[in-house]
Amino acid sequence: MQKDVLLELNAEKVLNNLKEGKRNNGRKVDEYRKITIEKDLYKNAEGCAKVKLGDTEVIAGVKFSLGTPYPDSPKQGTISVGAELIPLASPFFETGPPSMESIELARVVDRGIRESKAVDFEKLCITEGEQVLIGFIDMYAINFDGNLFDASAIAAISALNEAKLPKIENDKIVEKEYSGKLKLKRKPLLSTFAKIGNVLVVDPDLMEETAMQARFSVATTEDNFVSAFQKGLSGAIKKEDVDNAIDTAFKTSKEIRKNI
């Protein structure tokens, strides 16, 4: 992923403003941008959502396919999360095979969902040891203004929350027929923070991301658990940052979760 030179020149401004306690975009350090979620957009998707987080936009869709269970969990289906950073979202996103960035993004969203046990994998079992459903969640960035992690996670869980389970007959999926909705046991959400200088701000926009030394994401559930951490980039964070992030995440995700 190349970087925009103009944005880098602005990074110093972001840093200086934060030293004076001001976020470049007028937000508080624990304040998200406006979030809107559109659902039920694409008929071929078993579930889908388009999320706007400020000017960042991500589309997620769910498809179920039949597969074989892992030998060590014969009664469980699974999920598979993919992320595509395509040129719709930014002139600096390149075409070609998945980048390290898109792989990390997909895996962090995956862990937040998987580890919170949001999806009961046993409900995805068709025939023990032989046939299970795999829920593919594919996310497409269509506008990039920072914090793709949270926008993607919101899109993914929103799409899953809408997802209908396919009807199975004779070991095959019956097109356009469904056997009910996938019921989520939890709705984990990711909250991502930028460490800029000594300040931690939630939901960084692109200009703040250009200034950040470290990125920290925490997935939280409605019953006050964290289900994933991910620290990224070359900078460091401190224990206090994590504490701070967890508190903010519980608070902000509660609000966001209402819209899903």
């Binding site: 694409y42 071929n44 869709g61 769910v62 719709l88 497409y140």
Partner: protein, 288 residues
């Protein structure tokens, strides 16, 4: 199958399963300028088909050995979202994706004054978000709008539609159910409608020459209507931008829209068009 063969695709009143007349396309809505980080963009819904197109560039052609010192290169990428089809699509591009990308890119080349941007590439990305037969026509029609939205000077808009046959009748814009008819023929076509130049033409199925000729006429009429929707979308976007006084981007875009409008409304004024044609031919001659 035997059941299906008795299915009536066009009833006695000439109406299709979804109630459309034979020469009627599914509802189309077009919106230009929908992506903030793209030079130009377009969102298009065409029945169940939904496509989002971005234009980036013109910028330096890379790797350098592909650059053309006389004109811009067009890189068109047609890509289906994993969830845009009944069975999940593997994100890696397949042979169908590659062929559609090639012919759609080629279909747009003649419409763009490529010689204005030597050594550059214009990157078009068409992301299919939902599909139900006709996604390439949707992608190409949207891409031409996105190019105009990007302010890239063009000779004419490119408009695409599929036409075909079901139950022995020539129909416009087959949906997936119709494509599965036993005698179905599908013929995607794209034109610059001012000059009636065909820039994309493909076909699957068994057609007589007479059927081709009928299909062509139906396609031409369909294209006229769809082109008006393209122009309206650009006008709408132009008005919006004027309001927001985004002047820098607008200047060039204004020209594109105007040229599209003019060539549409004054399409009898053949001299202008001939001149356009000549300009292009000259440019091409230089290249070859």
């Amino acid at each position: 199958m035997t059941k299906e063969e008795k299915k009536i695709y066009v009833n006695k009143k000439g109406l299709r399963l979804d109630g459309r007349a034979v020469d009627e396309s599914r509802p189309i809505t077009i919106k230009a300028g929908v992506l903030k980080n793209a030079k130009g963009s377009c969102y298009l819904e065409w029945g169940q088909n939904k496509v989002l197109v971005s234009v980036q560039g013109p910028r330096e052609a890379l790797p350098k050995h592909i650059a053309n010192p006389f004109k811009a290169i067009v890189k068109f990428t047609y890509r289906m979202a994993a969830f845009s089809v009944p069975d999940r699509k593997n994100p890696r591009p397949g042979r169908r994706d590659i062929e559609i990308s090639k012919v759609c890119g080629e279909a747009l080349e003649k419409s763009i004054f490529l010689e204005k941007y030597p050594n550059t590439q214009i990157e078009i990305w068409a992301q299919i978000l939902d599909s139900n037969a006709g996604s390439r026509a949707a992608a190409l029609t949207a891409a031409s709008v996105a190019l105009a939205d990007a302010g890239i000077p063009m000779k004419d808009l490119v408009t695409s539609v599929a036409v075909g046959r079901i139950d022995g009748k020539i129909v416009l814009d087959l949906n997936k159910e119709e494509e599965d008819a036993p005698d179905a023929v599908d013929m995607p076509i794209a034109m610059m409608s001012n000059s009636k130049e065909i820039v994309l033409l493909q076909m699957d199925g068994l057609f007589s020459k007479k059927e081709w000729e009928e299909a062509y006429e139906v396609a031409v009429k369909g294209i006229e209507k769809i082109k008006q929707l393209q122009i309206n979308a650009l006008k709408e976007q132009f008005k919006l931008e004027e309001k927001e006084e985004k002047k820098t981007k607008t200047e060039t875009k204004e020209k594109s829209v105007e040229s599209a409008k003019e060539t549409k409304t004054e399409k009898k004024e053949d001299k202008k068009e001939l001149k356009d044609n000549k300009e292009l031919s000259k440019a091409e001659a230089e290249v070859q």
